[in-house]
Amino acid sequence: MTEVNPRYTELDEEMASKELDSSPINLLEKIKQEGRVWDDLSEEYGVENPDPPWRISLESTCDALAGGYWTPFNICLPKDERKPVMADDKKIDSNERRWEEDKLVEERYADVPFPERQLLALAHSLIRRGMIDESELAEKMKLIDKRLNFGYDD
């Protein structure tokens, strides 16, 4: 007996053939181990908001990366009615990203709470797809950390 959506099975087979590399990425491993998650921060500071303030921004990034929920990329349309995502479209199909998130969370980020795990998985996917580079992400983080904690150079 199976009630699993056939499209999930199809997607699972298709994605498995792409061999997503879930091996550790040093930068993300460091964040995973040393980063302070919202559950801890909100408890320490007595904040009641269940989600970190950046959650909606992260969701928006995912939507923007997918080209939104509309037009030819609409993930809700049957596949044959959607425009295939081409390399130069610079998009990540939402179903593929969610499949990768599930897999990466299971294999690498299971101990990280949500939505921090969604963020790590997204960064992992972008790096493995070659859309961003680990070293440039590390450099960017240094700049942002400096910007947020120490301000801009005068």
């Binding site: 199976t2 009630e3 699993v4 959506n5 499209r7 999930y8 099975t9 997607l11 964040i31 980063g35 302070r36 998650v37 919202w38 921060l41 909100s42 320490e44 500071y45 007595g46 904040v47 970190p52 950046w54 959650r55 909606i56 921004s57 992260l58 969701e59 928006s60 990034t61 939507d63 923007a64 990366l65 939104g68 929920y69 509309w70 037009t71 609409n74 993930i75 809700c76 049957p78 610079k90 998009k91 179903n95 969610r98 299971e106 299971a110 949500f114 939505p115 921090e116 963020l119 790590l120 960064a123 972008l126 859309m131 961003i132 992400l137 960017k140 983080m141 950390d145 947020l148 904690n149």
Partner: protein, 239 residues
Amino acid sequence: MSDDHDHEHEHIHPPAPMVDEVSEFEVLEIAVRELAIEKGLFTQEDHNQWTDYMHTLGPAPAARLVAKAWLDPEYKKLCVEDGVKASLDVNIDWVNTMPTKFGTPSDYCNLRVMEDTPTLKHVVVCTLCSCYPRPILGQSPEWYRTPNYRRRIVRWPRQVMAEFGLQLPEDVEIRVVDSNQKSRMIVLPVRPEGTEGWTEDQLAEIVTRDCLIGVAVPKPGVTNNAKRPVRKAVNPYKH
């Protein structure tokens, strides 16, 4: 304004607590976004449109829709027949308010309102990913996104709903509705006893997000979602 006044003012309106440190995750979120923009994966404007839009979303319009439907049989009929049209009465326009100003009632914008009866209970899932009626219900909860919920609710709905604290009699049929493909769903639960004579505002308060997904039923006095445990999937679907 004197220091004394400021001091006194703080006692009357103490500032809300804030997280006074920058976490690595916060920095990572910004870094990923800014790099993506620099590389032309999307524009700042694209991102702003989505962020502005999503900040307006929450479960209140769906709760209002249910409350109105409980009070007005004609409106209930409209909800079941045309959820998109019924949504307009709670100020949700599925077609024109998306950031792209695009939408057709045949795909993403097709909201279906699943009406429960005393012998039929609906529960919503997205088995494929985590499709959710965000325009009328806001952001999905964590547990809704997990493979554990998505895989198990279709196979063992009665047992999984019991894990949520919802124990249904054997004579109540459970119908699991899958949000993927071309539709989004919300549940129109049965109006509970003990709410006779209530106003629309009172009724809307007890229609929680979980009631609208279908893993809870409205109860007088219950106005918040219970904290739900998130469990790892131990039986992937292939097993």
